[in-house]
Amino acid sequence: MSSQPGATDARVGKAAIEREQTVTINDPSRWVDEHGDILYRYALERVRKPDVAQDLVQETFLAGVRTQERFRGGSTVRSWLCGILKHKICDYYRKLGRETSFTDLEFLSDECAEKFVPEGYWVHMNGPKEWKPEADEVMHRDEFWKTMRDCLAKLPERVATVFMMREMDEVESKEICANLSISEGNLWVMLHRARMALRECLALNWFENPEVLH
């Protein structure tokens, strides 16, 4: 016990902060108001179906409640919940992968024929042009992310699913194949076509779009 009043104040203050944090963590209905929309937006981009996205958000919060003693701070509540959501999305596709085929080899099966001359080289006018992204600057622009979102939305669902698992969740190829029950060769074809289409879409609508002021 310290007799110094200052130390007592500090202790009281610290206890108040801890209590405040405990309240925030322990009151999951506040999570729903604070983080629900953000989680829902991400889930919706990924699964494209509002009812499925809502279920995933609910499962995320429930899992959060069950495992909250494992949350040790270090990250924000939001990024911790986002991590749980990503796992829930992977689980969702794993279940779906057992029921439906995730292989989509139809998309771009002509390999962008108009991009290449028959001899096998880029058509001169249509080849990739230099992108001059002031990377850091561009990354902060909301319009860029909207363009990115629209381009992802144009990919066929299954192609988008494998692309986002690979590039956003950073799941390794082999794991995606195991989760979704697709062959490695087919996954590579799908990723290749997703990248080609996304590159093309970003070039047209952002990097080579004269209306976008970089």
Binding site: V32, Q58, W145, R149, H192, R195
Partner: protein, 100 residues
């Protein structure tokens, strides 16, 4: 790719490269594959040689890497640019599920 002014010798070198390295559609496929696993040394050399005469494919590679980089940032950005919101009834449903 052939319309630039080249001397006879330069043209022969380009034609030689064309004969022994993959064509552009194949190179784009290889570049994507290279993001999934390590490619054999000989393939990497062929791609490098291909880049000597094809700046399109070299740009393509840089842009794929850039797309990978921005994709990783996408999840945290999407919350800011999308205006989708959990419908009120879904919020209530989730809250009551959390209480039970």
């Amino acid at each position: 790719m052939f319309q630039e002014h080249r001397s006879w010798l330069q043209l022969q070198i380009v034609l030689l490269i064309c004969r022994f390295t993959p064509k552009c559609p194949e190179v784009t496929r290889i570049l994507s594959l290279g993001m999934e696993k390590e490619l054999p040394l000989i393939t990497r050399i062929k791609v490098r040689i291909h880049f000597l005469m094809c700046s399109f494919c070299e740009r393509y590679m840089k842009q794929l890497k850039y797309i990978r980089q921005v994709s990783r940032e996408f999840p945290e950005k999407i919350g800011e640019v999308s205006n989708a919101a959990l419908p009120p009834d879904a919020k209530e449903r989730i809250k009551s599920a959390l209480r039970s």
